[in-house]
Symmetry: C2
Subunit: 151 residues, 2 copies
Amino acid sequence: MHISARSDYAVRAVVVLAAAGSGPTKGETIAADQHIPAKFLEAILGALRQAGIVASRRGAEGGYWLARPAADISVADVIRAVDGPLAEVRGGPPEAVTYGGVASDLQVVWMAVRANIRQVLEQVSVADIAAGELPPHVRDLAADPDVWLTR
Amino acid sequence: MHISARSDYAVRAVVVLAAAGSGPTKGETIAADQHIPAKFLEAILGALRQAGIVASRRGAEGGYWLARPAADISVADVIRAVDGPLAEVRGGPPEAVTYGGVASDLQVVWMAVRANIRQVLEQVSVADIAAGELPPHVRDLAADPDVWLTR
DNA sequence: GGCATCCCCATCGACAAGGTAGAGATAACG
DNA sequence: CGTTATCTCTACCTTGTCGATGGGGATGCC
């Protein structure tokens, strides 16, 4: 899977905004709170703004805030805004690949993987993370000790 | 997630070998059957050999075959052999990242994602794909029409 | 006007992805 | 023994992305 630094930073920034409430929060403040390079975060917040996830204002007393309720912003929304589609096969959507002969069922496997990724990322909102209250089925998945083995 | 060409090619090659039975199959034959660049496939098969997934013999009548029963080789095994860990966060294992303050539950989300990826890739063997008989819970995941939407 | 903050553009080094080329080792077979 | 077929190894190439930085411009509050 490889969650990029961009996606990781983006989700954390949005979670900070979810916890901050309605007033504007400075980019520098978010960067310092989450130990993210300030200029890099700026570019990420720009992408989030263009995607309609955050809003912003310049000047003194400026900053960023959420453009819609935190409960309506999923982790998947944030990742797609900064890094594109969640799951791809050879640079394209998995439903576009076609396999010949004996490997034809491989596409079904890729689709199942994407379905399972979505099942987590689309059902966790940034409000859930900010409040520390994840959906039960997500917490259950991570509760299995096997999951924490590096393998 | 981004399944690389390497992983895609590797899984398909191993599925071909699973379907081919016990005799050696030439690299060129696999490449032609699955439309994979021959020299690139060679490098991939080398990695699979070092991982103990395939065995090989040089010279006339040489080729590649599976080093162990096809039912004992999961898709996850193949991907790890050619591309390393299935899921990483910023270049490291998700259990290694640590988040401060309000984002601390984000790690649990990443762990849940990895758990769900593993649930598919570790439970599908190359024998399953070659035979066209995927485990029921995998086929069920891909049966949902929502999954085929690009989003 | 002055200051704080976001906004845009350009660039950078490091690395990986995907693919190619060619020479060398080794096994079967006549 | 020599020839041919095949894997094996090393090296290289091109293109793109990732993570990050710097500088100036636009904008908004006081």
